[in-house]
Symmetry: C2
């Protein structure tokens, strides 16, 4: 469990192998137990394999290009009801999904669709219900280990515990 | 891993036993590997055992009363730099923290401090640095199994996969 959390990294290069439908269903079966404020479960998921729609989504966010080359995209829909905790709760279930995928040997990378015009444009091909919008999408696929370590412009590593944690007794 | 995610529940009743400092450090050591947009790590953590400060925090959110009766409160500080993904990223690391705590036999419950006046009021006793604000706080302690199942007004259970997941091929 500790290992899964500590070893989860964004994967941006995928093998072409398809992701089995049953595996996505298993991941949602596990992640759906994630908590949310007032147990509202302000989330729905749309799994996309269609290349034309993945390509369309990949142009709807600044760092979304990899959605075109992942074999599967899992769009995270949230309900825009003005509830302050919705984004926070979406982050909770996104972490559960990525951990459950990691456990199954799948790589994932979270992307954000924006601005709002793009979010609205993405809702239609996903068949989102009224009031549901895809602000985030997860690229999912088997890791291409050969290209996984391609350097990025983003600094790697994490801050140490002594910089992150203080005590009030 | 699946079991940990699927069995994590909010715990609102705690035994009085203190939470060892080393256990909180271990949890942060694991959770700090959680991803964030651009690897910004927009989070800091303040562990509070002082009863007067926990009592103060418990009055700064609508559902925060349990912060007074948990042996330890872990405040989640975020940096208000207008970056859209901050709340989402805080949700990701909150889930990692709760899973790592669950793994160690600790119960947790997420609470939200609000409105903004209350968030600012909470920042001071926590010694938050400039620009850092505690919008969320986690009650942490060993589960009081005898009272854990006390009924609440919040509906329990989760939506089934068939209502949560659709496919676009």
């Amino acid at each position: 469990m500790d290992d899964a959390i500590a070893s989860l990294r964004s994967v941006r290069h995928f093998l072409p192998h398809p992701v089995p439908r049953v595996t996505i269903e298993e991941i949602i079966e596990v992640a759906r137990w994630t908590g949310s404020a007032r147990n509202r479960q302000p989330w729905r998921f749309v799994a996309v394999t269609d290349p034309a729609i993945r390509e369309q989504l990949s142009r709807l966010g600044d760092y979304a290009l990899l959605l075109a080359r992942a074999p599967l995209v899992l769009a995270l829909l949230s309900h825009d009801d003005g509830f302050a905790d919705t984004e926070f709760d979406l982050g909770r279930i996104a972490q559960s999904i990525c951990l459950a995928a990691h456990q199954r040997g799948l790589g994932t990378c979270l992307t954000t669709l924006h601005p709002d015009d793009n979010v609205r444009a993405a809702a239609e091909p996903l068949g989102a219900g009224p009031g549901w919008f895809p602000r985030h999408a997860i690229a999912v696929g088997y890791t291409d280990a050969e290209n996984h370590r391609t350097p990025t412009a983003i600094p790697v590593g994490r801050l140490p515990v002594r910089e992150l944690l203080t005590w009030v007794r």
